[in-house]
């Protein structure tokens, strides 16, 4: 006991990192058809997340890897049970990645349109499925007495889990709109600001519904009281209200801090509601996976803790540095794309 809690908390940190960071690049992808009116707009939007999305995405890979090493039973049951969902997420993420790599490699409008849409589809589909999958851990899924998955793909879906997916999408769209106000100039920035003013209240309302429902589900399915889950819910509510107000006031920097903090509080709410279980079993509650019956041995956890203590700060440092280096606003003078280079188009 002890290191299991450490790793449960570290997994919450990893999922938080993933959602706070990839959340805004998903959001930018979702807004491509809305805010990207011209090719220049769309290229600016792609460039605003182009150097970052892959670093952001690594957080989820580390989360999955850490689950494998720290909670192998959880990993085995979750990855068997979520097989189709994870297959779909992988497919969506692969098609989305292609848009960053290939969109600028040819000039035809149809080609560019295909890859802009592939980004949007991936940016909506992946968080929708993540929300459904993660919420189903708390909502309850069929687990047999051998800790194995005893359900099918349909067991992931309920009113609560689908709302989780929709709430996640809306929160990311708002987060992405605020991010764009920080990284663009001129007309695109003004439109991103308008989108942020509309999306923050919408995300706030749906997100609040999701958080309240989470407390109810934690109470009904996971034998939890309202306390302590209510604490991160209050933090989320205050942060969301601040985000709405700051977005209306056009204070982009602080609005971004507020949307990021809201996402942190949402992930913390989910993990606090899960604790001490990691995968709630329904209908046989006694078969639920907990941080103790799903964890690795003490030696493994000790080695992992030392490794994480050394490398996590290094990762945080170089990721922060990459954001600092590439902080300039985009959308001024266009720079040459690979397609421009082979067409010998002179640089402006």
């Amino acid at each position: 006991m002890g290191l299991e809690i450490t790793w449960f908390c570290l997994l919450a940190v990893l999922w938080t990192g993933y959602f706070v960071l990839e959340g805004f690049d998903f959001g930018v992808g979702m807004l491509l058809p809305v805010l990207g009116r011209s090719e220049d707009d769309r290229r600016t939007m792609f460039s605003s997340i182009g150097p970052f999305w892959d670093g952001n995405e690594v957080w989820v890979i580390v989360a999955a890897g850490a689950t494998f090493a720290a909670f192998p039973v959880w990993y085995a049951t979750m990855f068997s049970g979520f097989y189709i969902a994870l297959l779909l997420i992988l497919g969506l993420l692969i098609v989305r990645v292609l848009s960053f790599e290939w969109r600028s490699k040819a000039d035809s409008p149809r080609w560019k349109s295909i890859w802009a849409w592939s980004n949007t589809v991936g940016s909506v589909g992946a968080p929708l499925l993540w929300g459904i999958a993660l919420a189903s851990l708390l909502d309850g899924v069929p687990i047999d007495s051998d800790q194995g998955w005893a359900g099918d793909f349909g067991d992931l879906f309920s009113g609560y889990t689908v709302l989780a997916g929709i709430a996640l999408c809306l929160v990311f769209a708002a987060h992405g709109a605020v991010y764009l106000t920080l990284r663009t100039v001129g007309d695109l920035r003004a439109r991103a600001g308008r989108a942020a003013r509309r999306l923050t209240p919408a995300a706030g309302v749906v997100g609040a519904g999701f958080l309240v429902w989470t407390l109810v589900v934690a109470n009904d399915s996971n034998d939890k009281g309202v306390f302590p889950g209510i604490l991160p819910v209050v933090v989320a509510a205050v942060a969301a209200l601040a985000a709405i107000w700051l977005a209306q006031a056009g204070r982009s920097e602080w609005a971004f801090v507020a949307t990021a903090l809201t996402i942190v509080a949402v992930v913390v709410t989910l993990f606090v509601s899960l604790y001490p279980r990691v995968m709630v079993s329904d209908p046989e509650f006694g078969n639920s996976l907990t941080i103790e019956n799903a964890a690795s041995g003490g030696y493994t956890l000790k080695v992992m803790t030392i490794a994480a203590g050394i490398f996590l700060p290094i990762v945080l440092l170089y990721q922060a540095w990459s954001y600092h280096v590439l902080r300039a606003r985009l959308g001024g003078t266009p720079v040459g794309t690979p397609a421009d280079v082979i067409a010998r188009k002179p640089l402006e």
Binding site: Y83, F100, K105, A106, W149, P334, I342, L347
Partner: protein, 65 residues
């Protein structure tokens, strides 16, 4: 010894595994063909002439999507 048959997910059916394998094979085949076409197109173009001054050369290095 942990045999493959002991380590397999009992809840994932053969049909599901076949479906995922087929999906990845199809996806990566398409990606391979598109990638080949793109690489051939770029390989056929002569390299751009060196810019007379350093400024133009540096501008090209900015990431653009």
């Amino acid at each position: 010894v942990l045999r493959t048959e002991d380590a397999v997910s009992p809840s994932v059916s053969t049909a599901t595994v076949a479906l995922s394998l087929g999906a990845f094979m199809l996806l990566y085949t398409i990606l391979g063909v598109v990638d080949f076409v793109l690489m051939r197109r770029y390989a056929r173009v002569d390299p751009p002439e060196l810019a007379p001054d350093d400024e133009a050369g540096e501008a090209l290095q900015a990431p653009s999507y």
